[in-house]
Symmetry: D2
Subunit: 366 residues, 4 copies
């Protein structure tokens, strides 16, 4: 949690710009002895990869990951894992105008103000392209979690695009991979296609809500007061480009509940206590309960749009800006695998933190 590094013990440092020669992630603190090769990571990058359908940017990047260190004979050695992805489809000419003015709603202006200098090509460091490095790091985290936590399972999906939410009654995890929106409601997915086509043709873009769920998370991960599992999940999701809100469990709706309704009641089951509901999203007091951990985040609409917007230039003149180039009409779609990656990193990090402090022992009930 220091500029470009995330995590306490499983520490991910990402680097690289959209149009530089390469970008990547340095993963430090990975447990040794875990099977890992590039083929374990590539599928998650492929899921995030642009240009796969008409609803994502038409930039064509293979996003081929290379492991440059930290793995020997197919096994992690406990030393830093360098994951590098070369940039191959940089068309910097697309970005000439942007260097001289600031896209409204974009980080162009704040980078300029803070640093006095910025790499305008493709948004430089502020490009969503940086998230490829996170997805690669998340692939490592998933491999370790699979190794350490039998039954661990994690997935993300879109639950809303613009004002159109899914019908949770129709939710089917098997449907997620069957449509371009990672939408678990097939009826909604069909409607969204038409809606987003309209948005795109209108030269606009739209926001979305993503939900990520992890099952099999052991109880006891997270710690008071500032190392809470939900605080770290919140920071992780908010650090993703364009995210403006994060919810855990009932989220904003928790404000509307009474204490009677919000209480996740408990009864003894055959394997210990069982919760009868999960408003908590699997986290109480910042510590996992053993229930599914549920996070949602809202992604704002892409600020690079074809509709002219009022702005100013670097030289201080009023200007109207149209952003040409290849942009996502709903960047939320590609945020799904990014949210998954961040969740995997956070959970693994807290698993390591917990076994550091407690040795992984749990208090008994019954």
């Amino acid at each position: 949690m220091s500029l470009n590094t995330f995590g306490h013990l499983f520490r991910v440092t990402t680097w690289g710009e959209s149009h530089g020669p390469a970008l990547g992630a340095t993963v430090d603190g990975c447990p040794p002895g875990v099977s890992l090769c590039e083929e374990d990571i590539q599928p998650w990058l492929d899921k995030r990869r642009p240009g796969q359908n008409r609803f994502t940017t038409q930039r064509q990047e293979p996003d081929q990951v290379r492991i440059l260190s930290g793995v020997y004979q197919g096994v992690t050695t406990g030393t830093p894992i360098q994951l590098m992805i070369e940039n191959t489809d940089q068309r910097s000419k697309d970005y000439g105008d942007i260097a001289q003015s600031f896209r409204p709603g974009h980080a162009d202006i704040t980078y300029h103000l803070k640093y006095g200098v910025r790499d305008p090509r493709g948004g430089g460091r502020s490009s969503a392209r940086e998230t490829a490095a996170r997805v690669a790091a998340g692939g490592v985290a998933r491999a370790v979690l699979t190794h350490l936590v039998p039954g661990f399972w994690l997935t993300g999906y879109m639950v809303q695009i613009g004002p159109h939410g899914i019908d949770r009654g129709r939710m089917d995890i098997a449907q997620i991979a069957e449509n371009p929106f990672w939408c678990p409601d097939p009826v909604a997915a069909t409607e969204w296609a038409g809606y987003l086509d309209g948005i795109r043709k209108a030269g606009s873009s739209v926001g979305a809500v993503i939900e990520v769920v992890a099952e099999g998370v052991p109880p006891g991960l997270g710690a008071p007061i500032y190392g809470k599992l939900d605080a770290d999940l919140c920071a992780a999701m908010m650090s993703i480009n364009a995210v403006k809100a994060v919810e855990i469990g009932a989220g904003m709706a928790a404000a509307t509940l009474t204490g009677v309704d919000n209480a996740d009641e408990i009864r003894m089951g055959s394997d210990g206590p069982e919760f009868l509901s999960n408003h908590a999203g699997g986290i109480l007091g910042g510590i996992s309960t053993g229930q599914p951990v549920i996070v949602r985040f809202a992604v704002k609409p892409t600020s690079s749009i074809l509709t002219p917007r009022r702005t100013v230039t670097v030289t201080g003149e009023d200007s109207d800006l149209i952003t040409k180039g290849r942009h996502d009409p709903c960047v939320g779609i590609r945020a799904v695998p990014v949210g998954e990656a961040m969740m995997a990193c956070v959970i693994l990090d807290h698993l390591l933190l917990d076994r550091g402090q407690t040795g992984g022992q749990r208090g008994l009930i019954g």
Copy 2:
């Protein structure tokens, strides 16, 4: 951001349990040469103090803060500031039942699972009482911000209780201190009083939404990718007891916006660029724009209620639990000064971080 420490350079470590002899905060990294005395901090603690009206717990604590170090002759010395608050109104007998069973919706069970041992008196470390230490640390941060940033100003208020929101057309900052809810809408405040009386008498509790706004925040605070100002604000707010969601600017509603509507357009003003709206909540790309920084968070209802809820005991038996004792019917009320304190700490921390990296110089426009 490591268990009980928050911050990069302005680092706050809180310690203490609800019913121990004292609690406090160790503030490290404070700039030297800032006027500071206990009277600068006490008003914020008084604002958070319980027992001031019928809508907060009837526990009576003076919450008198003592500065034990780091200040000499009324000025900060740059060394750690120890802020201690002695606990004086501990009635541990109130908590006998809770030691043997777990309040649904409370951290009782996760502390037990993680640590195998917990201090059940008043919730121990998971008590909202811990937030007094944050408020004290926030008082230090405010004093420093006032010293370093002319025109800095920060306030928090409730915008929703249960399902009842304010009417933003009636919003009046001057009203905040005039009602027990820190509500800027006097009409809503009156309605809320009746509503919360009903909740309380029904032996239940209810959630709330708090908004905190900071004005005068210089542009350029925050940094990619994991040290974003909004990521740290999000972690800060989520680390507060009972918070389940955090929003920046438009928040969850950003998902419903189009790129055309979401763009905060810019025009040159007399003192540089001016934004024509603030969906961004004062933060783009994780870096402050110079506009007001706006954060909202949802607080779930208090889990300690007089209505029986199903739970289990430490020995593994099903049980129905009523939580007697002195509890807040809406813990969100006292979360207002806590949210303010966290925001002050985060903004100061990023101010120090920024001048560390950039020397505080800003890129020019025009």
Copy 3:
């Protein structure tokens, strides 16, 4: 390792000035379930306590430690442990002159330059008194190490005062507590008494070398490249007041050795590999070998002496300064328990770090 906090997972934050109302340490990340009470910590403070013989400052402080948090019913809860020691024998009038000029060889001038303000009473934060807080924290670390590592054992002692070293042929651990110098060589101890009396009567002071040894340290603690066990030990010892050098194992003498002589050869023993010598001081590549961990550090002479030394005043005038007051003729004596405390903290911290990353599993040999 950030201003006033030391450690990765077992994190100690010290606070307080020599003549403020109190000083202490906030210990975060302590494993839960460890028996701990004030009586476990007090003996180490008593060992460091001033005024016990004519070779240490005559300030009389009971240095009574209070545990304010993090322990419930005699057991650590995993939450922050606040250790507070009240200052009772502050004679600030002793320090009037020092406020206006700078003791040569003392931190007076650098505090003034850096912060523009300093607490001159007893040296304020730069006083050796701060080390009482470290000793208290070290007492917690020892209790945890005893709980987690059967056979762990740690001790410190003086091996040199001024130019006078011990004869290692006469070394006897049982002698350490039998003389005012924590000296394992009884003959040397007798000689040192006469030598130090002379130094003291001459209005001067003298330096010393301390050695700390830990036995029973499991192999595998420490990590490349910057989290090396020896790098952290080195930082820990160098952070103690007046320390100017740190050695591991053969230390500076390693420079004079050939590779043939320096090699700690290995043979299989009944319980695994055994080293035939320990030039490495129990650490190879920054990771413990399982042999005794051996650290030495040099302490410079106290800068507060009765012999006049040339200096300047705050107002920029040349001046000759005599430092009256109660000062140690050899501050190295009281550094012994401080070095022990730092070593205990570092080893425990790395034990927790190691089990976080590796789960504590070890590679097999044979």
Copy 4:
């Protein structure tokens, strides 16, 4: 200071193994607006490069650094700088034996014990080759220091090889680059050549002492209690392969001094206070005085030697090991630019930390 990351604000993460495809450093927190290109960094790598004379390993590596991110149009952007060096002369066949047994005095055995798996090719992560990445990062730090601190200047040199020290009366900084030992005493350099030839031909190796001096360091860098400039320098140097001791200023000799002799007396000069000596090595109370900062460290002899040494195999059998391959007879020679790099990184880091906390303002004298 967390496994493979060093620094508070100027943070360097190194990655890579001796015989992997590449190694490098991720530099985060670099100030923006500093001129930087590969040609600024390469000279320092060339200084460390092996195979330049008969006294260093004959491995031939161009050690060509590439900047993959964080620099745009020849200027740092404030985002992470990835420095990559491809490995080109890996002869892994040289290392067959080492995979099955442990070199005495080498990290082979501790890596095996800790991780259960290690990359034996060229020592993997524990190879001195890792220090190339540090030197590259140090090149960035030097460029920034030159930009921010007029008059800053830093150099390292050998002051002792085996038992043979320099004559300080003959010291001449201009001589450092004129001999293969970076030795400032030309007479000693000639003698050392004969001595080291003997060591090498005997199939052995030898240790050395390196000194690094920085001039023009502003006063006020460093901070109590654990963020002391000397504590961080100490950790930085001790983190270098084969280092066994670190001294600041008078170092171990401080133990032999009296307070009268050790006092660096002060007199007012034309530009403020001037110290009449520098036993302190430019650091008092962990904070720079403005005098030259002086650090020395001892490097043990290379453990890979041609003389057979007793050891054990992975399968637990006694064995006698001769280490063939291309090894440095005195690894201390190549440690000179590494020590320089670490010192540059630490001083820059503390410069940024200081201006974060204090704004870089200094207390007045006179």
